[in-house]
Amino acid sequence: MPDSLPADSVGIVTPQSYHFDTPIELACGQKLGNYDLVVETYGELNADASNAVLICHALSGHHHAAGYHSMEDRKPGWWDSCIGPGKPIDTNRFFVVSLNNLGGCHGSTGPNSENPATGKPYGPEFPVITVSDWVQSQAVLADRLGIQCWAAVVGGSLGGMQALQWSLDYPDRLRHSVVIASTPRLTAQNIAFNEVARQAITSDREFHGGRYYDFDTVPRRGLMLARMVGHITYLSDASMGEKFGRELREEAYKFGYDAEFQVESYLRYQGERFSESFDANTYLLMTRALDYFDPAYEHDGDLSRAIAAAQCEFLVLSFSTDWRFTPQRSEEMVNAMISARKKVSYAEIDAPWGHDAFLIPTPRYTDIFTAYMDRVAREVGA
């Protein structure tokens, strides 16, 4: 990678692992006796600890949101476009905390970690984690870091669900909740796509009921298929069309079933790369957390009653071509906030990239995000 680091990069960052040995009670009824969370931070915490921003990651995300781990890195963190000096989440003003969630596979305790009870990886014994469980563990992390109240909790997609859940579970511990390209609950179609992904994984012969670690193998093909189908839902028809069209890898049809179209080889490539670096059990866990998320469920489906508990201000953003979590899903959330008399701002950003648009710095997205976060910073004196 870069010979020199860009001026608006947080630079070289080093993840840090925190160990917790107070048991955490999970929604499923189980307890996790002790666990680790891997965390990156950018910027400086101010004297009254009022300038902290929590970044919540999406399905395949992790703690490495910004900067580089070494000068050899090919790419920066997954949300480097929005986090850094002078960027929307300005690290000259904010202290930014980004973690790998519980159940993840990038260093925090998850299915591929050792189960202290058996001395072997948890595998299928690892409890199913919910968005609320993540928020609880993030609150424990905030205690450890000396952060009583976040200036903002920010997330896209599954990360946005955590930002929303924060406002309900710990209403007095955040000033702003920024919910981007998200939804208050999955639709049947969303769950259906998740189910296809899970079936791809669990029906792989190498899955071994989730105990593939014991057999020194991974369900690579299943994970690859899961990622391929997921990836399609992150892009829009138009953006796929523009990127690949019907372009062939060679000049003519070969009348066979190999990857002949560019889009086929792209998906296979993406799936393969992913299957080398991601844990299959974590993928199952993350998709289930998505399925279960539904804060209105305990309030007879009335989202505005669920949101009544919130005290923070909200920024909700959606993207015009996102068909995974459409603008209508964001508007549902906004309308519930309006009904509950919460302070909320909302914009639908015109962008051609489908769900992935929340990772891509289009001018209007950047402008709005910057203006909002600038005001958050002024509010906390950062």
């Binding site: 508007e331 008399r341 701002s345 909302y346 914009a347």
Partner: protein, 201 residues
């Protein structure tokens, strides 16, 4: 402080919950939040205005009155619904007025008077669609598709059972003038109406 905002803020009580339809860059809501501890939302479709509102801490929702309506707001949830200089730009001003008084106990509406003498004079003399400071567009690109006069507006209110609680007529700079008070429909450029349902106090 713009004189029209000065007039409007007198009608907003401390802690009022306010909806501003076509809130622009949020100047009015920002003022009401700070000076009147009002809460509430602005609706806007101009992207730059929306960004400016967010930077100011004004809660703004991107929502188009013409295509999306106001169904997402509950009956009577606001004390006051405001609409400054936007009535003439919506497709169905009559329906917007109904909606304003469904959502709020009181409405405040301001719009330019198409019967102002300079517009009448311009049309009479040149035979061309009039332009003015308040209406600076050409006929083919104007967002102001539902121009009306004070008399027109008041007739519509009568027809709909809307009571006009008060009316202030000002000139293009939003200044009071004795002449506009005397012959409002001829000499007034902008009117600020405070309206409510007949049965409301």
């Amino acid at each position: 402080m713009r004189p029209d905002l000065e007039i409007i803020q007198q009608w907003v009580k401390p802690g009022h919950h306010v909806l501003d339809l076509g809130c622009g860059d949020g100047t009015l809501l920002d003022f009401l939040q700070r000076e009147r501890q009002a809460t509430g939302f602005g609706l806007e479709i101009n992207p730059d205005h929306i960004t400016t509102c967010m930077g100011k801490g004004v809660a703004v929702i991107e929502q188009n009155l013409d295509t999306q309506g106001l169904d997402n707001f509950d009956d009577g949830m606001f004390d006051i619904v405001l609409m400054t200089q936007a009535l003439q730009a919506v497709r169905r001003p009559d329906k917007v007025l109904d909606e304003m008084l469904r959502l709020g106990r009181e409405g405040i509406v301001t719009f330019p008077n198409f019967a102002h003498w300079r517009l009448r004079w311009g049309l009479a003399l040149s035979g061309r669609m009039p332009e003015s400071e308040a209406l600076p567009y050409k006929w083919y690109n104007t967002p102001n598709i539902r121009l009306c006069t004070f008399k027109d507006f008041e007739a519509l209110c009568r027809q709909k059972g809307i009571r006009i609680k008060s009316r202030r007529v000002v000139d293009g700079q939003h200044q009071n003038s004795w002449s506009a008070r005397l012959w409002p429909n001829l000499l007034g450029e902008i009117a600020i109406y405070r309206i409510t349902r007949e049965n409301e106090q």
